[in-house]
């Protein structure tokens, strides 16, 4: 650990730290553009110059390029260094337009900050400036090339870090142009990171354009709710509207970046149809009366039918605290334990994952530094986009990726693809878990595993199911040793699937609930941020069950099908409007802080014009309450998050760290489970001759929250059916033909897409909410199906 002196202060830093980072540790503000924590140093912009007075290097040096060494004496304040930096910034500013007042970056612009920090305040240059034509880069990113200072951060992010190939740098020396070959939407699902990474106003957030100044935004540290990875995000709100999301920093999880689903999926919070008032049979009523009505109805039914006539349904969308208080409410009412999840197979898979994962599970940081990633039945870009980016970093560091999947899984990096049938996956994992020999065609995989020093087995709970997930954990356990750690990462369906599954323990699942509803025993159902009508694969049976209910109560912030059917609807807050904890797929508890208070966006109440001038003492649309607070009140507990966390930690030993959790910091792993369910699935017979329909999540359109976000509308796919080329040829089907898909008692006409990289005999449709494909559910074994050609376009 070298010790050096910067500006007369001594600092000791880890080996490999550069002098710029060392100065930052001392709190010294050093101008920099091309250096970025996630991208490293390239020494290109020349504004981080310092004077090296003593030690192994001397003279004016770029501090980002010099490794800190013992005995260095460095000055950032030496007159030469100050003059050097102010000249460089003056050059950088030569061509820069004077347009801060109309630039969206203003107020959070590194160029503004660094210009001031470098002491350049008067423009001497009065010649012509270089100007450019901007490009249309699609729905997410606005382009204003005149503001560019050629720091290359965008290219290094887009191409190197994210693996995009359609954005880069054109020209040379004075004529550099950062853009695409021609106008068109950026192809990378991580393009939104350009907004955060560009230190000037060239690349800004298009949906957010001209809405707010940075200093007017309400921001807080939060967690992305759009998949189970739980990336750190910083949502920004103003005028009662969630206006944007930027990446937060969590070195253990997302690092510095997020995906475009996480960045542009926020608009569900502002959805015009969102429930905002308590409703009893469609009539508005105050909260106090609504809660009274709920309590009264429940106690009536308990008196008449006994407490097991009440069922409680939690979800992987609701926070840990809310889900816990639901269980607490059940205990007080004497009901059965809540069911956590409207999709029984997904719930069972999540529970299988929670059992072991905490000690074997890899963080995204561990994925990034792994040397072998076996991706078995996971589609990272669809089921957890930032995992795809983490895998890319492993490859950039020399790691290897092998994909076993029936789907044509795409990754933003090179990978070896070994197609297999869905039912083969658990078998393969079973063989690995038993330490037996893999079939000959998978010998490369066996060899790679043999050589790897830090392998990670990656799976997706939708394709693997409970048994496959358990087998994956068992395989990792078998391959894991003190000398050669082997880790796992299993993608789960929802943001808090892990937390919900952990609370579920060995409680009932949705299949049991359906049985109880069938038998007529259940008279009332209370849903916590759950939408069984959209998520339960047996919708028909569920509808019959709901018909028999005497009382359906729903707490939610989404305008869901179930919420629309509710006798009593209690509006809750979205993640950004409250505080709580989510547990990500590796078992990391992450607290999120409240960004803003709910209310109807001014954009709606003002109908686009000046805010309305009718005054009232209440805020329109401000009634939604945090679900945990509603439940605490129903339980007669103090509405105090810290106390609830303490109580929960005391009851659930695996959540021991919960009371110390804060929204700052990387979160905390739950403690390991006892590994009881690492049983290995039995061999199953292979499927019959008919085509098998597999329903899969997609990057956009599957996840319930972001599916309601208007900024994502332009990129949501239209329904289609994907066929293996050889099967299509047999059936006389060409790409884009209209085909009829018959499966599960339904018939749909869909355009065909073809792939040569998927397993034969398989037909794939995406899970697309709000479309005719909504009634096909992921996380289920494949369905027998038929496909016939209808017409050629």
């Amino acid at each position: 650990m070298p010790t050096l002196i910067i500006d007369n202060q001594s600092v000791t830093v880890p080996e490999g730290t550069n002098v710029l980072e060392a100065a930052q540790q001392l709190g010294i503000v050093v101008p920099h553009f091309c250096y970025h924590e996630a991208l490293g140093a390239v020494g290109a912009c020349r504004v981080c110059a310092m004077l090296f007075i003593d030690g192994p290097v001397k003279g004016m040096q770029m501090s980002c390029m010099v490794e800190a060494k013992d005995g260095m004496v460095v000055s950032t304040e030496a007159p030469e260094a100050v003059a050097y930096r102010s000249q460089v910034i003056e050059w950088l500013m030569l061509n820069h337009p004077h347009d801060c007042p109309v630039c969206d970056e203003g107020g959070e612009c590194q160029l503004q900050d660094m210009t001031v920090a470098s002491g350049h305040s008067v423009r001497r240059y009065s010649g012509k400036k270089r100007t450019y034509q901007n490009q249309d880069l699609g729905p997410f990113i606005a382009h204003e090339m005149n503001r560019c200072i050629q720091c290359y951060r965008c290219v290094r992010t887009y191409q190197d870090y994210c693996g995009g190939t359609d954005y880069g740098v054109l020209g040379a020396n004075q004529r550099l142009y950062f853009g695409r070959f021609r106008d068109g939407p950026l192809e990378s699902p991580f393009a939104g990171n350009l907004v955060d990474i560009c230190p000037t106003g060239v690349l800004t957030n298009k949906p957010y354009r001209f809405t707010s100044r940075f200093w007017d935004l309400q921001e807080a540290l939060s967690v992305c709710p759009h998949c189970s990875l739980g990336c750190a995000v910083i949502p920004g709100a103003r005028f009662r509207e969630l206006q944007r999301v930027r990446a937060g920093v969590n070195p253990e999880v997302n690092g510095w970046f997020i995906c475009d689903r996480g960045r542009f999926g926020y608009d569900y919070v502002n959805h015009p149809d969102r429930p905002r008032t308590p409703l009893l049979h469609g009539e508005e009523l105050p909260w106090s009366e609504a809660l009274e009505a709920l309590q009264q109805r429940l106690s009536e039914l308990i008196d008449r039918h006994g407490s097991d006539s009440i069922a409680l349904l939690g979800s992987g969308r609701a926070s840990l605290e809310s889900n816990y208080l639901l269980r607490r409410l059940g205990e007080q009412l004497g009901t059965a334990a809540p069911v956590y999840g409207s999709h029984a197979a997904r719930d069972r898979a999540a529970r299988a994952v929670t059992d072991l994962a905490a000690k074997l599970s890899a963080s995204l940081a561990e994925v990034r530094s792994s040397d072998l990633l076996l991706v078995m039945g996971a589609d990272p870009l669809a089921e957890g986009p930032m995992l795809a980016l983490a895998i890319r970093q492993a490859v950039r560091n020399g790691g290897r990726v092998m994909l076993c999947d029936p789907r044509p899984v795409e990754l933003p990096c090179s990978a070896e693809h070994l197609p297999c049938q869905p039912q083969e996956l658990p078998q393969l994992l079973r063989i690995l878990a038993a330490g037996e020999n893999l079939p000959a065609n998978l010998q490369p995989l066996a060899d790679a595993l043999q050589q790897a020093k830090r392998p990670v087995l990656i799976g997706g709970s939708d394709l693997l199911g409970a048994e496959g997930s358990a087998a994956l954990l068992a395989a990792a356990q078998k391959l894991n040793s003190a000398e050669r750690p082997c880790r796992t990462m299993i993608l789960l369906p929802e943001t808090n699937s892990f937390g919900a599954a952990l609370l579920a323990g060995d409680g009932p699942d949705f299949d049991q609930l359906l049985n109880d509803m069938d038998s007529g025993r259940i008279k009332a159902l209370l849903c916590l941020e759950a939408d069984p009508l959209t998520d339960c694969p047996d919708r028909k049976r569920l509808l019959q069950g709901l018909e028999q209910l005497e009382f359906l109560a729903v707490l939610d912030h989404l305008p869901s099908l179930t919420a629309k059917k509710a006798d009593l609807l209690l509006p809750t807050t979205a993640v950004a409007e409250g505080a709580g904890t989510l547990v990500n797929n590796e078992g990391r508890m992450q607290a999120f802080a409240q960004v803003f208070s709910p209310g109807e966006p001014l954009r709606f109440t003002g109908q686009g014009g000046h805010p309305p001038r009718n005054f009232s003492s209440t805020t329109p649309g401000a009634l939604p309450c945090q679900a945990w607070a509603v439940l605490a009140e129903l339980c007669g507990l103090p509405v105090n998050l810290a106390e609830i966390r303490r109580e929960l930690a005391a009851k659930e030993p695996r959540l021991a760290g919960l009371p110390e959790l804060s929204a700052e910091g990387p979160g905390q792993r739950v403690l390991p489970g006892n590994g009881a369910s690492s049983s290995v699935p039995p061999a199953v017979a292979t499927a019959d001759e008919s085509l098998q329909l597999l329903v899969c999540e997609t990057l956009y359109g599957s996840e319930p929250l972001s599916a309601l976000s208007a900024p994502l509308d332009p990129v949501c796919p239209h329904p289609y059916v994907l066929l293996q080329e050889l099967d299509a040829a047999r059936l006389g089907i060409a790409a884009d033909d209209l085909v009829q898909l018959t499966a599960g008692g339904q018939q749909l006409a869909l355009p065909a897409r073809l792939s040569s990289r998927m397993a034969e005999g398989l037909v794939i449709v995406p899970r697309l909410r709000g479309t005719e494909l909504e009634s096909f559910y992921p996380g289920q074994p494949p369905l027998p199906c038929r496909v016939e050609k209808v017409s050629t376009p």
């Binding site: 190939t165 359609d166 954005y167 880069g168 740098v169 054109l170 020209g171 040379a172 070959f181 021609r182």
Partner: protein
């Protein structure tokens, strides 16, 4: 795209590309082949090169636009590259450049109306010992004076006429 490159040449390029470890190595060669046949490299030429190399058009265009000897817009039959770097500048390149503009009646970046000459500045041609220097097509000319420039232009014109 057929007019951009003859089929035999495409086949030959494909062979070369298959033989290298990293197709990017051959971006310049493929672009030069297109330029040889077409005179300059239109967007379709970049797209053709990208297809042959298995890269995105942007990845090819990054290289194409970096080099000033790859022409991304139409040029005359002969392109004059006048060095404007330090050695040539110190030995009178500016007056040579001015003289060329006068003789040809065009500004830098323009093409004579007969479509023969395009005039472009260039950075060091590696002929500093013979500064000031310029290049017309693949031919290098050093020790330039106003008189010599007149003679060279006349020769080049004559050559173009035969």
């Amino acid at each position: 795209m057929s007019e951009l490159l003859p089929a035999e040449e495409i086949a030959e390029l494909k062979r070369q590309i298959a033989a290298v470890h990293e197709p990017r190595e051959l971006i310049v060669e493929v672009l030069q082949a297109v330029q040889q046949h077409h005179g300059w490299v239109p967007d379709a030429g970049v797209e053709l090169a990208a297809k042959l190399l298995g890269l995105s058009p942007l990845q090819v265009d990054e290289v194409a636009t970096f080099y000033d000897k790859i022409y991304r817009s139409p040029v005359g039959r002969k392109v004059i590259h006048v060095c404007d770097s330090i050695c040539c500048w110190s030995r009178g390149a500016e007056s040579v450049y001015r003289h060329l503009q006068q003789c040809l009646g065009i500004a830098p970046g323009e093409t004579t109306s007969d479509g023969l000459f395009t005039l472009l500045p260039t950075c060091c041609l590696g002929a500093c010992g013979e500064a000031p220097a310029m290049r017309i097509g693949d031919r290098l000319y050093g020790e330039l004076t106003v008189e010599r420039v007149d003679a060279i232009l006349a020769e080049e014109r004559q050559e173009a006429e035969v």
